[in-house]
Amino acid sequence: MTEALKLTDLAKSFPVGRGFLGGARGAVKAVHPITLSVRKGETLGIVGESGCGKSTLARMLVGLLKPTSGTIEIEGEAFATADPAAFGRRIQYVFQDPISSLNPRKTIRQIMEAPLKRLHNMPAEARKERIAEIFDSVNLREEFLDRYPHEFSGGQAQRIGIARALAASARILILDEPVSALDVSVQAQVLNLLADLRAAFDLTYLFISHDLAVVEAVSDRIAVLYFGSVVELGPAEEVFATPRHPYTRLLADSAPVVGRPLAAPEAAGTDLPDPLNPPPGCAFAGRCPHATDRCRSEVPRLEPIGDHARVACFHPLPA
């Protein structure tokens, strides 16, 4: 058993608009059916721009949101219902905004104790020991335990968030933009800590971010999300170096890089398609320089290309 997490056709749509009697008028597909698997000990990066469905996907994976269809298998066990408490022992979440993920009116100790008490029914003495152990592993001093969240900087608060996730003894962590609220000098500290923890506790990560460089630096494989679908999936060192999907190429070319002259890779029309009225074919066709009639009428599936990669495109770019 080497697969930590396996998603089969996982999809989510949200009802929109309210009729006179409260019935929904339509549905927005936030996540189109996604099939993915994450190997044990692997870091899978998920990258995409705002509105691509990456947070919705993440919330389904921890049971905070019920999928519309599809299944989630964690360490070989299927999780049918969206019950965060059931998920919580296997998979945990590290939030984007470190401060607002900590209840302002609880001490850090109370926050840390909750998962130990509720998920593992640990007695008081054992809890104390375990918290000390975890705090040590995330380089936080034990004296912080009796303070309140507002006394911490963003970087420290994020370490506390990570410590809480570890306390649940989950083997898989969903990291939802864990460093995007932090300054670069602190960002590197947290990323390195995450790398150390992964090695020390044999963790599996799903690292979600909009920052291509950060994702590339921490991931083994990267999935590129566009408009709710995975458009490309491949080894981290190849995805942005030799993009196969035109959208990945656009992302890679847009990232500002020292030493590369400024050039708008695209003239106009960067808007995402209207989610209420999605295009019949490939969602990227409207922006794609290589789009053909087929692209505009048929949805491409994620197909293997080359040795390790997969791409959802009828006209993939040459390697």
Binding site: G22, E49, G63, L64, P84, A85, F87, G88, R89, Q92, Y93, F95, S101, L102, N103, P104, R105, K106, A114, P115, R118, L119, G161, A168, D183, V184, S185, Q187, A188, Q189, L191, N192, H210, L212, A213, E216, A217, V218, S219, D220, E237, F240, L250, A252, S254, A255, P256, V257, V258, G259, P261, L262, A263, A264, P265, E266, A267, A268, G269, T270
Partner: protein
């Protein structure tokens, strides 16, 4: 909790209200012990005695009853009923609000529909209907007043609960295995209680008024028992002949309600976290300037020259030195980048130039900003206003927050022009279309009629740029204009800015935290740390061979696309807080090369040709290159 009482005690009006209220409550509590006449014994022979007469300190009423005694007993009753109504309404209303807000969906819908219906009545109609059904009487009046206030609490608390239920810490609690009930008790309730207390403290006075009102109408307390309202009601028929019988209970109500309101405001201010930071102050039209010491004379470098700029934030007794002496200049057609982490003072520097730092709490305490030889910092407001947008224009970070949500973008563009010269409707419209075309917005004729919320982030930021261009300024100060945008959109916006600079010869000051953006856009760059420039020079030089250890280390922290999976360099520790800056170099604490001397004295910015660095032991570019 002690902090709360300290804050409350600092508010003198609230304190006064608290003292008066405590006295009244104390008086009401000891009333049965005082040697007072029986409040209900009539003595028609001694009716309408004036205040300060023998045996009746406040006089007597139309039945000859002692007014002082009736006043104290009435106060006791009014207070009891008012507080009871408030507690009942707050408890029931808050419980309903929390349940509706937390569970959401159908539960919420059903409950709130009911609440809406109750609120569809002018409240007194509901109270009157209840009293009509139950019959007049003080207890029924209490029920009526509590009942009409339940919806107010329910709606108020529901709104707060919805906000809290969507907070990330509630999700975290779910993942920690907490049940819904437990989440309500341990996560939601502690965050809602301050709001309930605020709502109660601000409505309790009103509830006392309402119960008094019902009694005044004869629907509350029934004779001979009297609360303050029924005393007034009974005295009304003798208002003209014997006004003291009305004035005595009336003033008492006024005193009670006023002291409750004063105290309530104090409680609100002490519990509202936004007020603690002094954030609810209105920023003035221009930043306060309080410069001490001699003003630097212009040297004529560049179009805009900032010299020794110091901007501070005065919050309570603390002084945050956000900008601690910044020198920079920008020439026509040049793009100067200012780069730094959050809190480095880069935005405050930029906003200080045109007096746009929010004040209070911001104060410019030193330095000058010379534009064509004229000092902008010292300029009177009228002069400054005339130059804002016309000579120096700004582009801000979040285009959704920085455009007025209720005006069409075309009108906002025209207003920018109109602020500086009169312009007709037709010409304004034409000019607005022209501006939108200049920033490559497709369909500009249609787009001018859009509201900001109808546009995407990238389009809104283009409108922001168009607005900055409206009066053909010489200088544009762009404060992180692409930070809130996606990378593909950012690339477009940067291209537009770069093209405009070249075609119009604009000087741009570009504030960012992104080295990649600086590299692509800026000719020169200044690196800021803890309110000072630590290094400045040509972009290529600095990015190629940074001399200040901070610049070098910061650049090493930033991952770049194409590097593959790797361990990143990190800078241990945190930037210093600017109200407690260390002596000497602010970076010494985190610097690997720091020596004793670094922590001792002020370290000057040493200029060497085109570049400058504020370091005693800078990296040597030639040696680094050799290595």
């Amino acid at each position: 909790m002690t902090g709360f009482f300290q804050l409350l005690a600092r508010n003198r009006l609230a304190l006064a209200g608290g003292v008066v209220l405590s006295l009244v409550i104390l008086l009401a509590l000891v009333t049965p012990l005082l040697p007072l006449a029986d409040p209900d014994v009539t003595d028609t022979a001694n009716r309408f005695k004036l205040p300060f007469s023998e045996g009746a300190l406040l006089g007597t009423d139309h039945l000859g009853r002692d007014l002082l005694s009736r006043l104290l007993w009435g106060t006791r009753l009014s207070l009891a009923v008012g507080f009871a109504a408030a507690i009942v309404a707050a408890t029931i209303g808050s419980a309903i609000g929390i349940v509706a807000g937390f569970y959401g969906g159908r539960t919420d819908n059903l409950i709130m529909r009911g609440v809406d219906m109750l609120m569809a009545f002018p409240y007194i109609l509901l109270a009157l209907a209840i009293v009509a059904a139950l019959g007049p009487g003080l207890f029924n009046a209490l029920i009526a007043v509590a009942a009409v206030n339940v919806p107010f609490f329910a709606r108020n608390i529901r709104g707060i609960t919805v906000g809290i239920a969507h907070k990330e810490f509630v999700d975290a609690a779910r993942l920690a295995g907490l049940s819904n009930t437990r989440i309500i008790v341990s996560e939601v309730l502690p965050n809602v209680i301050p709001v309930i207390v605020i709502a109660m403290s601000t409505t309790i006075g009103w509830m006392i008024l309402e119960t008094a009102g019902l009694s005044f109408l004869g629907l509350g307390s029934q004779p001979p028992q009297a609360d303050l309202g029924s005393m007034l009601g009974e005295a009304r028929s003798a208002l003209i002949t014997n006004p003291h019988t009305s004035i005595v209970p009336g003033l008492m109500i006024l005193v009670i309600v006023m002291s409750i309101n004063l105290l309530g405001d104090g409680v609100r201010d002490a519990l509202d976290p936004r007020l603690k930071s002094g954030a609810l102050s209105r920023p003035m039209a221009a930043t306060r300037v309080d410069r001490k010491g001699p003003l630097p004379a212009p040297t004529g470098a560049g179009l805009l020259e900032v010299q020794g700029l110091q901007t501070q934030f005065h919050i309570k007794d603390r002084v945050y030195r956000a900008v601690g002496g910044v020198d920079l200049h920008v020439a026509k057609g040049e793009c100067l980048g200012i780069i730094g982490e959050s809190g480095s003072g880069k935005s405050v520097t930029a906003l200080s130039v045109m007096g746009l730092v929010a004040s209070p709490p911001g104060v410019i305490t030193g330095g000058a900003a010379h534009y064509e030889g004229e000092d902008l910092i010292g300029a009177p407001y009228r002069r400054l206003r005339g130059m804002r947008g016309r000579n120096v224009a700004y582009i801000f970070q979040d285009p959704l927050a920085t455009l007025h949500p209720l005006y069409r973008v075309g009108d906002q563009l025209i207003e920018a022009i109109r602020a500086h010269r009169p312009i007709g409707r037709e010409e304004g419209r034409r000019k607005a279309v022209e501006l939108l075309t200049a920033v490559r917005i497709p369909n500009p004729e249609k787009r001018i009629a859009n509201y900001p919320h109808e546009m995407s982030g990238g389009m809104r930021q283009r409108v922001g740029i168009a607005m900055a261009l409206a009066n053909d300024p010489d200088i544009i100060i762009a404060d992180e204009p692409t930070t809130a945008l996606d990378v593909t959109v950012q690339a477009q916006v940067l291209t537009i800015l770069d093209d405009l600079r070249r075609s119009r010869g604009l000087a741009i000051i570009f504030i960012t935290h992104d080295f990649g953006v600086v590299a692509q856009l800026c000719d020169r760059v200044a690196v800021m740390y803890a309110g000072r420039i630590v290094e400045e020079g040509r972009t290529a030089d600095i990015l190629g061979a940074p001399r200040h250890p901070y610049t070098a280390r910061l650049m090493a922290c930033v991952p770049e696309v194409g590097g593959g999976k790797r361990r990143l360099e990190a800078i241990a520790g945190l930037p210093p807080v600017v109200d407690r800056l260390p002596e000497g170099c602010a970076f010494a604490e985190r610097c690997l090369k720091a020596q004793e001397a670094c922590r001792r004295d002020e370290i000057p910015l040493v200029r060497d040709g085109a570049s400058a660095v504020r370091c005693l032991y800078p990296n040597d570019p030639s040696r680094e290159a050799a290595e």
